[in-house]
Symmetry: C2
Subunit: 256 residues, 2 copies
């Protein structure tokens, strides 16, 4: 089972959009996938068509706070066969502050995922901080997918994130990361040239696939029943980009 | 003195870009302005040309944790006359977790700004959560500027934010908010029509000025010495949009 955290403390770089579309892409290619929503905004939950404001079942907040741990009763099916969701609601932000005083608060998610059977991939959508919830994802995951927008503020924070990953994973060997460029506008040559220069030292870690800016990605969460772009707009540029990403990730981090 | 918090728990909607450019715009029109960076990412600090990685002076982290409070020794000049900055560094994230156990932890910023003299406007750039630092801004400010991107996920969280504002400000009268649409692409008519429909019930709270998507805003933080867009690209569409925003805010929330 591959556990991949989709993480970047910079806000609005495409973490949720990537989590939802990569999870759906891997499920369409025959893998059994669990998407864990670890953001109290619950946008991955929303993006797969569940309404976090009215959802009454058990959520990730319950799983992280319960003593016996485990995801029993939390995992629910979605509109796609082989794609399951561990949803979040705003109540997850309470778990964030309650966890501050618990023992082993950084290992709650790792414990909850321990012994999980029947999945090839687990993707974790993270909130835009480096607080206790994203740290839980860093401890639990083995691979890190870092969406980054071609912009000054987004690239600036990469150094902090990589430092945090290195320091937390120092004693947990066998991890790896890749940077995914998102919202790329081909005509913005000045910006793109600057980005390539800044990312030059990390060249080996930047994925070949780049996700172009595409308006359908803005619209799909506004639908009455939000869907991944492969379902909502299968012939769009975004569907093609996320299909290529799915293939690249499948090859790079094949399920074992 | 007008205290305006630029806030939205949704990431990447243009909080920092708006804080930096509105602060600079108000200073250029003759007002004395303080920009408070309340985000451990320290992007407002970076956006005004200070490097948070090497900055050694007192910061907002120190001000919030110190017992006697106040911004003594924290406020520094910028490249613009009448625009001063209370910088942040990554260490502010320690303040976030240390504040969890302090008394009156929500009122630290209010206490630090109490008795501050010599400013017409104080702008506070917030991080993309509803944790203890943004709550400090909600308690300290009187006006709330809410940047929102025309997209499903960004509009979805507006309800949660307005609920949080109402519940915290219930006993602190005399507050107001406005929504600023950012990164607007005129050609995306389908998206824009959906957005107008969703925002229809809040029509009276949406500012007339809308900030168009403009590539120079992505590039200015990548400069060796980042500057506000009015300085970096004075004839750009973005400089014009932020100038109009400055005039609208000056009229709506005139200094008193
Ligand atoms: N390739 C793209 N083209 C156009 N719009 C995009 C693209 N990817 C994402 N978006 C839009 O950009 C916004 C930010 O994306 P998203 O919410 O996925 O980022 P995030 O990193 O998860 O944000 P947060 O930090 O708040 O969790 C969303 O409104 C989304 O619809
Ligand atoms: N009008 C615009 N046109 C084009 N790009 C923009 C515009 N406004 C902001 N940006 C870019 O979009 C990204 C997000 O903006 P910004 O960082 O200001 O948002 P934020 O809400 O402060 O993010 P965070 O939630 O991480 O604090 C930045 O890379 C910025 O350069
Ligand atoms: Mg997200
Ligand atoms: Mg910001």
């Amino acid at each position: 089972m591959r556990i991949i955290a989709v993480i970047n403390q910079k806000g609005g770089v495409g973490k949720t959009t990537t989590s939802v579309n990569l999870a759906a892409g891997l499920a369409r290619r025959g893998h059994r996938v669990l998407l864990v929503d670890l953001d109290p905004q619950a946008h991955a939950t929303l993006g797969l068509g569940l309404d976090p404001d009215t959802y009454a079942g058990r959520t990730m907040g319950d799983a992280l706070l319960s003593e016996q741990g485990g995801l029993d009763g939390v995992v629910v099916p979605t509109y796609l066969e082989r794609l399951l969701l561990a949803p979040a609601t705003l109540a997850l932000s309470k778990a964030d502050s309650l966890l501050h005083t618990r023992h082993f608060r950084e290992q709650r998610l790792q414990q909850a995922l321990d012994g999980l059977q029947g999945f090839d991939y687990v993707l974790i959508d993270c909130q835009p901080t480096l607080g206790v919830l994203p740290v839980n994802a860093i401890v639990a995951a083995h691979q890190f997918l870092i969406p980054a927008q071609p912009s000054g503020y987004a690239l600036r924070g990469l150094g902090d994130l990589l430092e945090t990953l290195h320091s937390i994973r120092r004693f947990l060997p066998g991890w790896d990361y890749r940077i995914l460029l998102t919202m790329v506008t081909p005509q913005a040559t000045l910006t793109n040239d600057m980005v390539d220069k800044v990312l030059e030292p990390l060249r080996a870690k930047v994925l070949a696939t780049r996700i172009g800016r595409c308006e359908v990605l803005n619209r799909s969460p506004m639908q009455e029943h939000p869907r991944d772009v492969g379902t909502f707009a299968p012939h769009s540029r975004a569907a093609y980009d996320y299909q290529r990403l799915t293939q690249e990730i499948e090859t790079l981090w094949a399920p074992h």
